[in-house]
Structure formats: C-alpha cells, structure tokens
C-alpha cells in the first residue's frame, strides 16, 4: 500500500540524479536537484503516514525543513549561475574548468 509511494519517490530521486550527472546546463542541473529533494519529501511523508500517531508529526516538520533548505539552495544557486554567466557568457558546466589542474 505505502510501498508504491516509496517506489515513486525512489524513481523521482533517480530521475533527478540522472539530470544532475547527464546534463551540462546549470539551470537544468538545479531543477534536477529540486526533483531529488521532492522525491525525498515523498518518502518522508510516506513514512510519516505509516507511523501516524497523535503524539506529533515529526515527518511533516522534516519536510518543512527540506522546503526551507531547498528555497535557500535555489536562491544561492541561481545567484551563482548569474555571476558565472556574467563572467563566462555560458551556462555549460564544460566551460567551467578554471579550477582544473
């Protein structure tokens, strides 16, 4: 019953991981990170539903924390992207090799 929600959450996590490693556009990499975080959120909510009790909803609070972290991550990530684009005129990760030895 709850297992298929967990399968969906692992599928979204794996899809996001594919987007992070197989794409070179920084914008799409950031969107894929969002997909991964959402996959984790579904897993957290599934287990919160599985262990539902009246004593508290720790799983729901955890999802709220993940949402806060995701919002902070996106704002900083997009600011870095704008700064990189201003210097390099590119959003391709293949062009960002100034740290390569």
């Amino acid at each position: 019953m709850i297992g298929r929600y967990l399968v969906l959450s692992s599928l979204m996590f794996a899809l996001g991981a594919y987007g992070v490693v197989a794409r070179r556009n920084l914008l799409i990499i950031l969107m894929s990170v969002e997909l991964m975080l959402n996959g984790v959120n579904i897993a957290l909510l599934s287990f919160a539903r599985l262990h539902a009790s009246s004593s508290g909803s720790a799983g729901h609070v955890f999802v709220l924390m993940v949402m806060g972290v995701a919002a902070a991550e996106v704002s900083v990530g997009l600011a870095i992207l704008i700064a990189v684009f201003r210097v390099r005129k590119s959003v391709d990760t293949g062009d960002l090799r100034s740290l390569k030895g």
Binding site: L6, L11, G19, G68, S90, V91, T93
Partner: protein
C-alpha cells in the same frame, strides 16, 4: 488500484522525464510545474493537506517563478545552451541511475511490506494545527535555525548576484 495515485504518479514521472530531457530550459521549467502540481496531489493522498498547500505556494509560487525569472533574465539563445554529452555517455549514466533506482526501491519496498500496513491516522493528522504544534513546541529550535539559514541565503544571493556592493 488507486486511480488518483496512478494518474498523479504517471503524470509526475512523465513530467520528470521532461525536466531532465528537454533541451530548452523553459520547457523544463513548465514540465517541473506539472510535476510539482502532481506531487501536491500525492501529498494530499498521503494525508498531508497543510504540506500540499505549502508545497504549491513555495515550489510553484516561489521557486519556479525564480527559475523562470532567471531564464528570462539570461535570455539564452539556442547556440548558448551549451553542449550535450554523447549518446553513449548518457546511456551509461542512465543505466547507472536505473541501478540507483533499483537499489533504493527494492529495500524500501521490502521494508514497507515488512512493516504493518498503515492504520487510519488520528483525526486532524497533517492538518495545520497538528503540524503547527509540532513545529512550534517540539521543533522550535530547528525552525529558528532554518530562519537563520534563509537570512544567510538572502545575503548570499544579494552579494553573489550584485555587480558592485
């Protein structure tokens, strides 16, 4: 088979594929919108109406608009979108990610079938009152720490994106 779950899951998987395969970031962002809306339906199915509402507000209302804003701000021409990895590299990475999926899904499925099936949740579970009580009583310190994190992120965003301070 639960029809609502089946439709929402199918839509979110198709839209998720759209996010990671589309060449144009605008199409990816629109796929992400569809994906997030079907996630909200899944949150409702999991007995979390408050978080479903927050998800729509935060993700489609703030994060997606921020993505679209940056896409419009950069105004990328088709030749500026960057190169892609070769089909062979993408295939190998897809196989690896399929392995990651199986490695996550199989233990989770076994764990879920080993545990007792979910009982009917208590009244008000996942509502704004239950979550708010947990958040402001039991988890007040982490909540405050998240607000500090967001404050730091605001400063970071301004410092990074501004030309001259």
């Amino acid at each position: 088979m639960d029809l609502v779950f089946a439709v929402a899951a199918a839509v979110s998987v198709v839209a998720g594929f759209g996010v990671v395969t589309q060449r144009n970031p605008v199409y990816s962002a629109i796929s992400m919108l569809v994906c997030f809306l079907s996630f909200a339906v899944i949150y409702l199915k999991l007995g979390a109406p408050f978080l479903a509402a927050l998800h729509v507000l935060v993700y489609t209302g703030a994060i997606l608009v921020l993505f679209l804003f940056v896409i419009m701000l950069l105004n990328l021409k088709p030749e500026e979108l960057g190169e892609e990895y070769s089909a062979l590299t993408k295939g190998i990475l897809a196989v690896l990610c399929a392995g990651l999926f199986l490695g996550l899904a199989i233990p989770l499925w076994q764990e879920a079938s080993r545990l007792a099936p979910a009982a009917e949740p208590p009244a008000g579970f996942g509502g704004i009152e239950a979550v708010g009580k947990s958040l402001f009583v039991e988890y007040a310190l982490p909540f405050e720490l998240v607000s500090v994190l967001i404050l730091v992120a605001i400063f970071g965003g301004v410092v990074l994106a501004k030309r001259k301070i």
